[in-house]
Amino acid sequence: MKRRDFLKIVGSSAGAVAAAGCGQAPERILPYVIPPDNLIPGVASWYSSVCRECPAGCGVIARNREGRVVKLEGNPDHPVNQGALCIRGQAALQGLYNPDRLRGPMRQDASGALKPVKWEEAEKLLVERLTGLVKQGKGKRIVVMSQLESGNLGRLIESWAQALGARRPIFYEPFNYEAIHHASRLVFGRDAIPHYALEEANVILSFGADFLESWLSPVEHARAFTRMHAFKHGKAGTFIHVEPRLSLTAANADEWVRNAPGTEELLALAILKVILNEGLQAPGVDVALLRNVAMPVDLEAAAGQSGVSVETIKHIARTFAKAKPGIAVGGGVAVTSTVAVETQRAIHLLNYAAGNVGRTVRFGPDSAFVKATPHAIVGLLTQLMAQGEIDVLLLIHANPLFALPPKWGFAEALKKVPLLVSFSNQPDETTEQAHLILPDLHSLESWGDFSPREGVVGLMQPTMAPVFDSRAVGDVLLSVGRQVLGSPAGKGPFRWETFAEYLKEQWRGIAREYASSMLFDQFWEEALRRGGVWKDVATAPVQARSAPVFPIQGKPASVEGDPQGLTLLVYPSQRFYDGRGANKPWLQEAPDTMTQVTWDSWIEVPAEVAKKLGIRQGDLVKVTSPHGAIELPAYVSESLHPGAVAIPIGQGHTAYGRYAKDRGANPLTLLPGGAGLSFLSVKVTLTKTGGRRPLAIAQATHDQDDREIAQHVGLGAARELELRGAVPEKASHPSMYPDLKYPEYRWGMAVDLDACTGCQACVIACKAENNVPVVGKEQVAYGRDMHWLRLERWQEGKPEHPENLFLPMFCQHCEIAPCEPVCPVFAAYHTEEGLNAQIYNRCVGTRYCNNNCPYKVRRFNWWDYSSPASSSYAFPDPLPLQLNPDVTVRQLGVMEKCTMCVQRIVAGKDAARDEKRPVRDGEVQTACQQTCPTQAIAFGNLKDPSSRVAKLSRSPRGYHVLGELGTRPAVTYLKKVTREHGKA
């Protein structure tokens, strides 16, 4: 048998496995696009691609076992994410294997119900309609609305639209950061979103930019933030965050400044004024211009309106201006208020005044977000649709019915469109309305490329055969285009048989740009292997345009609605982004770090307001704005600005599959229609409905009760400790037993709490790697979640302005483990590599081990999550395809817990043994460690004194959680370093 034949068989049998889930034969394609030199069952192949869960464009590598992808990891070579992935990236697999994913093409029949059709039939339908329009010269009645495609698919869509005479395609992103590039154009004359090099700043001044959650490129920013901020060699940067709400990013700030909603511009200008008044601006800046802008601002008035004292404003200005370089960024609600552009402009000017432009704020490697269509144009399209000007609307992974406020009238306008074609492979709100559904492949099944910023092009290849009967949107566009124009294959504007061919040809251009000397085939293979190409892009010099290009506002954002009401903050969700994550059960079950809420959405109500209205946590509250009303359970917050309420975006789907549907409420329905999309634009009133819907909150309390679980040390003290270099005296607990001997390895971990930002990526990585079941809202609420790794948030100090500590907690693999002696059947035992092992098959289920575990990290299978016959079955088809074949799926009645990814240790040892050497440091990475954007987790052999984990474990900041119990954990935590200066 030839190698190629063998691969074909393996590929198609994988497809057959997938087909078993749906009963339809998939298109047979060969998943092994780079034929591996040899394919051994049981040995994984890795394929690089790009994560398309948001437009940040992180590189991924997909672990393919026997024809199916079982795990995603960040591509270590990729310049954006450097090996890490965020929580949404880790969960992308559940989009691929989503049980509600569309199985094949569908069309609406006369009764309005969607019925499956054949691909040929579906395509024919579209071709007929398009041909009719094109022939009549009514191409302008066709429009494509796609998610942001910054690569060649976007180019194909554009040329396709051009060839058919259609309107310019719309690249629709709910979060498009258009205020930033509008402001750039106004201030610097360059319509671009610059690259923010956080890592090179000494001070970050953020105006609501949730750069650790969703803003622009969160993984990249988290890594960069840690580089500038985490304590290293006695140094640590400073992070000041201005936001009305204590977001996850705010909780990571050294100084969180709570301002009144919508006063970011005012504050930025006030800070600028202080800089100018005190002469702190960088040399060579256009002082006249800056004075023009900043001087009209009255400091006292700004302080009064924003609720931030003049002292604090001055202190921020000094800290920021003296940083050399610092960086000011704006995002979140601040970029989407009615004064969003003005705010971004003020922030640009701050960067300009402090001399950061060109250093930390770099034009040149501009973000691809600039290609996203402004909301005003989407509004225009809506009008055209409503006027009956559009006959065919093609939607490519865009869900405007969910993401646009109903007041935009998109739903009504859509009714006027005779043919709505959706290429989405998920049954989302807009797709449900479609007359024709031509499901696209998942990005992990597709060819493609994506360029998140200038100088970086990520290349996507199919990492496995399609799970269902879907076709690549590029292929369909080419085929439909050919048929409409009547051009034969091989000629004309759509001469390529497949999108893959088109892509490869386009990449010849990229090859010339990036590696002119290399042969194309070699370049192509290299790019596929690496996951794309990248180069350094020179920073483009920009000059601030002189006044008076723009008028000065200097007043807070205007909000409509009851003046006595509370300003509504609608903010992007770290877990669901703009809502596209909501159909993934992993994301639903991962707690929101700050509130620890799972499975639901909520309205954050300030404690003062809650007290006044008699609202308790979990009480249903009716939220009324001038544009709509929704009902949500209340989450009472001590820290939120008393003049505001906050609701995360992402929940409240009316379709989008079983996990998303009818869960919570969509806050966007409270927002006004109009030309732009402002997340901060209304005031709302709250009324208690009398009903209750308790939230499923994973963490019982954020108060450590003086137990010193998460510890911190002041910056000065940390420096002193570092200088002394003393290994802290570990409390020695006398034991009657001799110390354990570890002949070769003792696996251990070190977690630097100063680096942990609480992003939860590790939680999902662990879930994906270890086949951890999803248990649902009721079970989480009742303390039966199965997370092997949980991310805890502890708070200290004033509840309205707490010090936040994030701590990933998992099995501590104690040397003197309380769980081990109490197990009557040796299911819990100690390996000679220091692992606290759990043998599922031996477990009888007395649960004594978990009683005795001081860390409560053991998880019991209360229900039958593993058998398909059970009503608690956690893996409806085709989710089982994701299960890691190296890890047992645990059965009813047994205890389970973190194994330190023992399957990876075994694989690492096997590889080392083949080469007759010990395992090298860093060779084995646990899933949580691998995905951590800030590299807060280290894993390795504690017996090797030169290993990273051993070095970190000896850190003067190291401690053991509940170490006084004498359990001698193998996990050392490094205390968070807090800044001494006073809180604002």
């Binding site: 303390g783 907690m809 059947v825 040796f826 009888v844 007395t846 004594y848 005795n852 409560k856 509940l962």
Partner: protein
């Protein structure tokens, strides 16, 4: 020993009165049996559901990995203590008043242990593999972990059950023979077989006495050891409020305390319904009342010690745990325990209360409730506020675990009700021993 008329029963009276308890039961008896059987059926159904669906059907969660099952397990083990105490220790101390109540108490012991023994099975997540706790040679080369208190439990309880059953059966032998002699037909055959050929010869009596004494001596240490071992399930663990050297004597005392209360709950109705006033007299009740009072006072002392050590240790976790139990979600259970176990028994200082049957009955019931809640307070609130605040939580019972716990009472009572109709629940032999020998006519 006198009846209400102040007349001492004769040997013939004893035979007649005791065997009378075995007469065909009344409809009321069958009515009670039916009620108990119904409850038992519900309990069995609940258990079946739990095995089918998983332990999630019971209200357990993190951190309360143990809850009502272990509470009830310890409760029944405790109940199982009074019987052996009365039959063995009081026998060795020649406390003659025990004779008329020890049979009932011993039966209660055996049935209580049989009930308790179900709970480790009910409680196990994979009860079908519970036999892995037994040390037996097997092809898997597996052996139980002798460091685990649960394995100690297996030995302690199975030993205790074996000894109590044997002791119980030995004591029954002469009485079975007496019933055999009084019965006819197929009953006679069955009792004949069960009496193992007892003839009442001097030789048999001599062997019987010796064996009985030996078994009494053997059972005595078990009274102390079994509950000590059960208490180590807690004391050997790390949980705040559990890890204490106090636990063994504390548990043993509590066990005796609740055991006596249960004996009273059982014999007071027996005496009433079968008119056994001649045998179970106020003197007996008085003596039992005194024992309950003493054990209650000792228990109160242990309660104080427990609170004192939690405070005096200065240990943050212990203090927080105690404070939480006493003031937060489960405070009602905490104070109920103190009320029932420390306050209520104080009325027994009055002699009138000790001989006033309704008072004694109410006190006993409250003591049983209090002792059940004592174990509940150790387990459920104890685990609910352990070392790690992230997972703290409140346990809510479900229909399933409630039905199983109630079903266990039905199981106990069905055994006991059955027993009193087929076996003499007052010892004929030993009661006779306490009576004056029938004077035979002098031969001239």
């Amino acid at each position: 020993m006198t009846d209400s008329a102040g007349r001492q029963p004769t040997y013939a009276d004893v035979n007649r009165d005791v065997i009378r308890t075995l007469e065909p039961p009344s409809p009321a008896y069958f009515g009670w049996m039916a009620v108990v059987a119904l409850i038992l059926t519900a309990g069995i159904l609940a258990w079946t559901w739990q095995i089918y669906a998983g332990m999630g059907a019971a209200g357990k969660r993190t951190p309360q990995m143990w809850a009502m099952y272990i509470t009830t397990f310890v409760f029944w083990i405790g109940i199982g203590h009074a019987g052996t105490l009365i039959s063995a220790i009081l026998y060795l101390f020649r406390a003659r008043w025990r004779t008329s109540i020890y049979r009932g108490a011993e039966a209660m012991t055996v049935f209580a242990v049989l009930t308790a023994g179900l709970f480790p099975l009910i409680h196990a997540g994979r009860m079908w593999f519970a036999y892995w706790l037994l040390p037996y040679p097997n092809q898997r080369y597996l052996w139980p972990n002798f460091r685990s208190p649960l394995v100690w439990d297996v030995f302690a309880i199975s030993t205790y059950l074996t000894i109590s059953v044997v002791f119980f059966c030995v004591g029954l032998l002469p009485d079975i023979a007496a019933i055999r002699d009084a019965s006819t037909g197929w009953r006679k055959k069955i009792y004949g077989m069960l009496s193992l050929g007892w003839e009442g010869t001097d030789r048999q009596w001599r062997h019987y006495r010796r064996a009985y004494g030996l078994f009494a001596a053997l059972a005595t240490p078990l009274v102390l050891s079994v509950h000590s071992v059960v208490s180590w399930d807690f004391a050997m663990a790390l949980v705040p409020g559990w890890h204490s050297t106090l636990f063994a004597p504390f548990f043993v005392d509590g066990a005796i305390f609740s055991g006596f209360a249960m004996v009273l709950v059982l014999i007071i109705p027996m005496r009433h319904f079968w008119n056994l006033y001649a045998y179970i007299t106020d003197k007996h009740l008085d003596a039992m009342g005194k024992l309950i009072l003493v054990t209650s006072l000792v228990l109160s002392y242990f309660y104080l010690c427990e609170a004192f050590t939690a405070w005096y240790s200065g240990d943050h976790f212990e203090r927080a745990s105690l404070f939480w139990k006493a003031t937060k979600s489960y405070a009602w259970a905490f104070w109920l325990q103190y009320f029932c176990n420390s306050l209520v028994p104080l009325v027994l200082f009055w002699r009138r209360a000790r001989t006033h049957t309704p008072t004694l009955y109410v006190v006993s019931i409250l003591v049983l409730i209090g002792m059940w809640f004592e174990r509940f307070n150790i387990i459920v609130p104890g685990l609910g506020h352990d070392f790690y605040p992230y997972t703290w939580g409140i346990y809510w019972p479900t229909l399933t675990d409630t039905m199983i716990v109630i079903g266990s009472f039905a199981w106990f009572f069905i055994l006991f009700l059955g027993f009193i109709k087929v076996m003499p629940s007052v010892s004929i032999v030993e009661v006779k021993e306490t009576l004056p020998h029938p004077v035979k006519e002098a031969h001239h």
